[in-house]
Symmetry: C2
Subunit: 299 residues, 2 copies
């Protein structure tokens, strides 16, 4: 079976880019013309029972919450505001109305928190439950952040802590919409994405899109409580913001005692002109090493 990243690459090459777009396939959301000052953002993400959660274990409210939250996280990663959501469901014949209602209660609560209106959807019969949510958002043209803008010498930063997803965080995380809005309003961010497949994999993606490499300081990784460094690197679904900024901008961000609206920010490495991801224990170390750990493969 062909891996997801390779398949996306092939599809991306197969489908022609529209010249009028700011960004199509290959970022957290598509960036499309809207008006003089704004871009329209469109993102879609699907969760499937048995792959992204387990019906037998997860609360329906949490499943609904996650289905929307992963999309809000994509909009946040562009520096944007979510506005509208469409919810397409695949519903097994034996699923109760009670479960579906609780699922929508999870969506409704999070949608309200982030001023997102659920404006439509689709119901299909299917053997396994799935939810495919589309979110439309907007972003000021001068604040949009793509994945391809990292420059050699930029600092690499991350919000929150990494590695808690398997302990349940992946079902209850709060998308970093407000933190991202604060970032793009007050600072110049060169590249950004959300951590959905693990830092190891996603940092590699971010650097490849930017045509750069990275040196990561392992002692600086904000490891979640009761979690190992390896899990912090490899577990998927942290849904934290991973971003780059010039050293001067990074210094200003890190100088904020309150972080981003209370969420801590950590500098975890540096962008290098040379491709590939390298590691040091501390920034001041001279010893550089490689890690063969892999990120999370949903697919």
């Amino acid at each position: 079976m062909i891996p997801e990243s390779l398949l996306i690459g092939k599809i991306r090459r197969f489908l022609p880019e529209d010249a009028g777009l700011k960004k199509g396939i290959g970022d957290d959301a598509a960036v499309l013309p809207l008006d003089k000052k704004h871009y329209l953002l469109l993102a879609v993400d699907t969760i499937v029972d048995g792959v992204d959660f387990r019906m037998a274990e997860a609360k329906p409210e949490h499943v609904g919450r996650k289905a929307l939250a992963i999309n809000l996280s994509d909009i946040a990663a562009m520096g944007g505001r979510p506005c509208y959501a469409l919810v397409a469901l695949g519903i097994p014949a034996d699923l109760s109305y009670f479960w579906i209602r609780r699922f929508y209660a999870g969506i409704k609560k999070l949608a309200k928190e982030f001023n997102t209106a659920v404006v439509g959807g689709d119901l299909s019969r299917s053997k396994e439950f799935f939810a495919s949510v589309t979110v439309a958002g907007e972003v000021e043209k001068n604040r949009v952040v793509l994945r391809d803008g990292a420059k050699a010498g930029d600092s690499i930063l991350v919000t929150g802590s990494l590695g808690g997803s398997l302990a349940g965080k992946h079902l209850t995380f709060t998308p970093r919409v407000r933190e991202a809005a604060c970032l793009v309003k007050y600072f110049k961010i060169s590249a950004m994405m959300d951590v959905s497949d693990g830092l190891m994999r996603d940092l590699d993606v971010l650097m490849k899109e930017s045509g750069k490499g990275a040196c990561v300081f392992t002692d600086s990784i904000p490891v979640s409580r009761a979690c190992t460094l390896k899990k912090a690197f490899c577990d998927g679904e942290d849904f934290e913001l991973l971003f780059t900024a010039s050293p001067a901008e990074a210094k200003k961000i890190l100088a904020r005692k309150e972080g981003l609206l209370g969420t801590p920010v950590q500098r975890i490495g540096m962008v290098t002109a040379k491709p590939g991801i390298y590691f040091k224990e501390k920034e001041t170390d001279t010893k550089v090493f490689k890690l063969s750990w892999k990120g999370y493969e949903h697919f």
Copy 2:
């Protein structure tokens, strides 16, 4: 198991309507503010293997075509132009890259024909194949057509012919985007939707949204070749336009020799103030009867 229409009704009541929207849940597409002269349209529709098509029988190009076409049809039913598409797939582990590529070839060809850019998507692992496509479009504010505008005395019209879906039309139909654009540009249409669940069911939906009823002339139904009247009423997935207009407007539309860009238009009935769907063989008949035939239930 709760029927789809009932479930949609319950969800619709459960989710609060946003006051800023022209139309949310309950039409072919959501109608959202865009700019002074235009609305943004958002529609999503999912097809699932074994429900909406059969992998073992359908060409992958046709499955891709259908996944996009049903959404273009939703945009058409609002009087709009499709602009962008997002493609979310659930892919079984044993599905070949060759199949997926042919699926995208079907999408690509139809997208090109209707000037729609595929700008993003998502790939998930799943047991059964599904494709959930979202289309964003736009429509001039003075041309948008909702489902709720039918007036008593209006003529009921339909494009093309009905009942061919099971003979393969559901995989290869051409969405009526151009015909709808022509309709809303030159005529005043009071209500419109696409026929996806069979004329019997969809006419009932259209009249209920408008708070009206209908009298249908069975001799006027444009029955597809090698098809029965019952099939024309009950088979789903014709993806023709079902719409209403004042008698004077309807007369002008029907007077066009070329129909709508070559597609014939037929007057099939009249909107009544009294709810419910009634039937006559011919308009001039005095004998009115009921039909207990049901539309197609996808769910």
